[in-house]
């Protein structure tokens, strides 16, 4: 069975791109979220194997969402998607429980490497 992914990003462009990269690699994108709040709700409903999480989102940011998700499921596998210059936020996300991160602009190979590490 394919491993399932929840893609969280407020930009449709980014969601589409990440979904494409992951589904081409054999993952099943079971849901998308465009806010931290949605991410937390959908994680609870879908129990995906992996979450990709944007940092800056409306209605609860990515870091807060990581914190919420990990509170209920410390084993949650969350991959942060960050822009350049957000190092401090990435560190915060890691301390909140995120398992790895990729930096935009995305190279598919980099994203998949990170996903493999998170799921290992």
């Amino acid at each position: 069975m394919n491993q399932t992914v929840l893609v969280c990003d407020d930009a449709i462009f980014m969601r589409t791109m990440i979904s494409d990269i992951l589904s081409q690699a054999g993952f099943e994108v079971v849901g998308e979220a465009e806010s931290g709040l949605q991410a937390v709700e959908k994680y609870r409903m879908l129990k995906p194997d992996l979450v990709t999480m944007d940092i800056v989102m409306p209605d609860m940011g990515g870091i807060e969402a990581v914190r919420e998700i990990c509170k209920n499921d410390p084993e949650a596998k969350i991959l942060m998607c960050s822009a350049m210059g957000q190092q401090a936020l990435v560190v915060e996300a890691i301390q909140a429980g995120a398992k790895d991160f990729v930096v935009k602009p995305f190279q598919p190979s980099r994203v998949l490497e990170a996903v493999q590490r998170v799921l290992a």
Binding site: V91, Q95, F101, A114, R117
Partner: protein
């Protein structure tokens, strides 16, 4: 082997370690649960012991050994850190400091037997539980390498770990955070270097170190941390211990006098270069001009390097103040929280060496006169704990050092009354501005303290600080609000030896104005002249700035030029003055020559220099012109 040549190194390193010990002790006292300060303390004392033993300073080594035993017992939780234990450790660090200075001065004293006995008793107190310590049975404490081999193999072991992030990886700091998270999954992480804040700002070369206490075997640690992504290498144990020192960037110790000599030569080189540039400009010979430009570039690169080599973080001087603040708060019966910011800001070594004492006076003043007693604070509606903040910030070509307290503030009425009484202020002065206030406070011997407290109050606070700071070409300002607290602000140039200056002419003589205090240059326009309190002032973009005519100051006799005159706007903090000159001659790096002001030298002259044409010029002291 001749050990005498190592004596200076021993002294310098021991001082550093002892300073760090005070910091670690304070940190530990604040949060007794954290292990990192204990580890650091243990390592520092252990190093001192090793060095002292090598040098043959038995007294120092014996004392360090006893302190180390106690620390070892503490870090393995055989002894609990009580206030009494902290007090004992503070005493040990102080005594060690005295002993180290003593041997450096050539007089080795006997080890303090009483203190050693107390340390040993405290260290063994744990092994015998609450039971009384029997004389003579204090167990031989294990040396740091012994317990490792003695421990059962499945007990957690503490090991040094070095991790190298792949070069070119993005956000290496965040990578490091990931690796550390993984390490925390295996056990307890301590002694992280470089510190977290530095890692998070990516200010490291990709390598970092920490100690990991875990049951996991080395191979498992390496595998777990290595799979964190973008990790090049993980070294556990010995290899990491060896590489330990290298991680800070390869450094060598250099005698400061060498750097001073080098600086002096570069200073002379700068003067020669300026002269060469001037001459080649006149010669109109392309090859010469090209060569002189090349030399100018090389000299300026060299100057930058030498100056950089002399730059030292202010933290080196700040380090001793937390201890001072702690002792002050105890002696004065006050509750004081002491914080520091900007320890990483760098200053030229020679300035740094001079800045400690002024800061010391200001911090003492803040603790003694500023912060109120707990009950007074509470009845004034404040928290019982007062706060003193020591901060450093870089502002243009200067460094601003602030001592801020949230105490009672300065009572201007009282100062004014006292100033009138001593004839410092005439009857026409009815309020003390911050400017006037600092001038009154800085009068030698001026103190309003009703009694001398042993901490301060002899009136040698602000005036000493002021004199020192002025000698460095710096300024001292004060801002104070009654009931809310005071801020003393010291502003010093980044470096003393070579400064960039604006050359101005007045009455046929040339003067150098340090660029650090030049806000801008404008033209003196008679139509923009107004007056404030009977003083001529210039309106520059809606701001009224009092003017000073350099011609008048230097009593120039030649005829003044009519019409527009160049004007230099000097700025020190928020105060500004418009200095009207005859002509501006451009910028130049000038070498500040040591200068013993002859009698009668006006206060606005801060030093002297040799200009590009080989002729001398006076350097103006911006602060004195305000």
């Amino acid at each position: 082997m001749d050990l005498s040549k190592y004596a200076a190194l021993f002294l310098a390193e021991s001082r550093e370690h002892l300073n760090a010990c005070n910091g670690s002790l304070l940190e530990w006292e604040r949060s007794p649960a954290s292990v990192e300060p204990v580890d650091r303390l243990f390592r520092a004392i252990h190093t001192i012991k090793g060095m002292a033993a090598t040098m043959g300073y038995t007294g120092v080594a014996t004392l360090a050994h006893s302190a180390e035993n106690l620390l070892d017992a503490l870090r393995h939780a055989r002894v609990t850190a009580t206030p009494a234990v902290f007090q004992l450790l503070f005493r040990a660090v102080d005594t060690l400091g005295g002993a180290v200075e003593g041997v450096a001065a050539g007089s080795e004293a006997e080890a303090d037997g009483e203190l050693i006995a107390e340390l040993d008793a405290a260290a063994s107190g744990a092994t015998s539980g609450a039971a009384e310590v029997q004389a003579g049975v204090a167990p031989e404490a294990p040396t740091p390498s012994e317990p490792r081999s003695r421990r059962a193999s499945d007990a957690p072991r503490s090991r040094p770990v070095q991790v190298t992030i792949r070069p070119g990886a993005v956000m290496r700091g965040a990578r490091a955070a990931l690796v550390l998270r993984r390490a925390e999954g295996l056990g307890v992480v301590s002694g992280l270097r470089p510190p977290t804040a530095q890692l998070e700002r990516d200010e490291f070369d990709g390598r970092f170190f920490f100690r990991l206490q875990t049951k996991a075997p080395d191979a498992e640690i390496a595998a777990a941390l290595g799979s964190g992504g973008e990790v090049d290498a993980v070294q556990v144990e010995e290899a990491a211990a060896e590489a330990d020192g290298a991680g800070q960037g390869r450094q060598i110790r250099v005698d400061l006098r060498r750097l001073d000599a080098l600086m002096k030569h570069v200073g002379e080189l700068v003067v020669a270069k300026n002269r060469l540039t001037a001459l080649s400009g006149e010669a109109d010979e392309p090859a010469l001009i090209e060569l002189s430009e090349r030399i100018a570039r090389l000299v300026s690169a060299m100057q930058t390097e030498v100056l950089a080599a002399r730059m030292t973080p202010v933290g080196e001087v700040f380090d001793r103040f937390p201890r001072l603040a702690r002792d002050l708060s105890r002696d004065l019966g006050k509750q004081i929280r002491f914080d520091m910011e900007g320890e990483e800001i760098e200053l030229d070594r020679s300035i740094l060496d001079e800045i400690g004492e002024p800061l010391l006076h200001l911090i003492r003043n803040a603790a003694d006169h500023g912060i109120e007693l707990p009950e007074q604070r509470i009845s004034a509606g404040k928290s019982a704990e007062g706060r003193i903040l020591l901060s450093a910030t870089r502002e243009r070509n200067t460094v601003a050092l602030r001592v801020v307290d949230d105490g009672r503030g300065i009572d201007r009425e009282r100062i004014l009354a006292k100033a009138r009484h001593e004839g410092l202020a005439g009857g026409e002065v009815d309020t003390l501005t911050d400017d006037l206030l600092v001038r009154v406070l800085a009068r030698p011997g001026f103190s309003t303290a009703k009694s001398v407290s042993g901490v301060s109050g002899r009136g040698v606070g602000v005036d000493v600080a002021m004199t020192r700071v002025r000698a460095l070409g710096g300024t001292l300002e004060v801002r104070s609000e009654l009931g809310r607290g005071s801020t003393f602000l010291i502003r010093v140039p980044l470096t003393l030896a070579i400064v960039r200056a604006l050359l101005a002419e007045a009455g046929g003589e040339r003067y150098a104005v340090p660029l650090a205090y030049v806000a801008e240059t404008v033209e003196f326009d008679r139509r923009a002249v107004t007056s404030v309190r009977d003083r001529e002032a210039l309106v520059v973009r809606d701001q009224v700035i009092p003017t000073v005519h350099l011609r008048d100051l230097v009593s120039a006799t030649s005829e003044a030029k009519s019409g527009r005159q160049p004007t230099v706007i000097l700025e020190v903090g928020e105060r500004r003055t418009a200095l009207v000159v005859d002509a501006l001659l451009g910028q130049q790096d000038i070498v500040v020559e040591p200068f013993d002001a002859p009698r009668g030298m006006p206060s606005f002259v801060g030093g002297a220099t040799i200009l590009a044409d080989g002729k001398p010029a006076l350097i103006l002291d911006a602060a004195a012109l305000l």
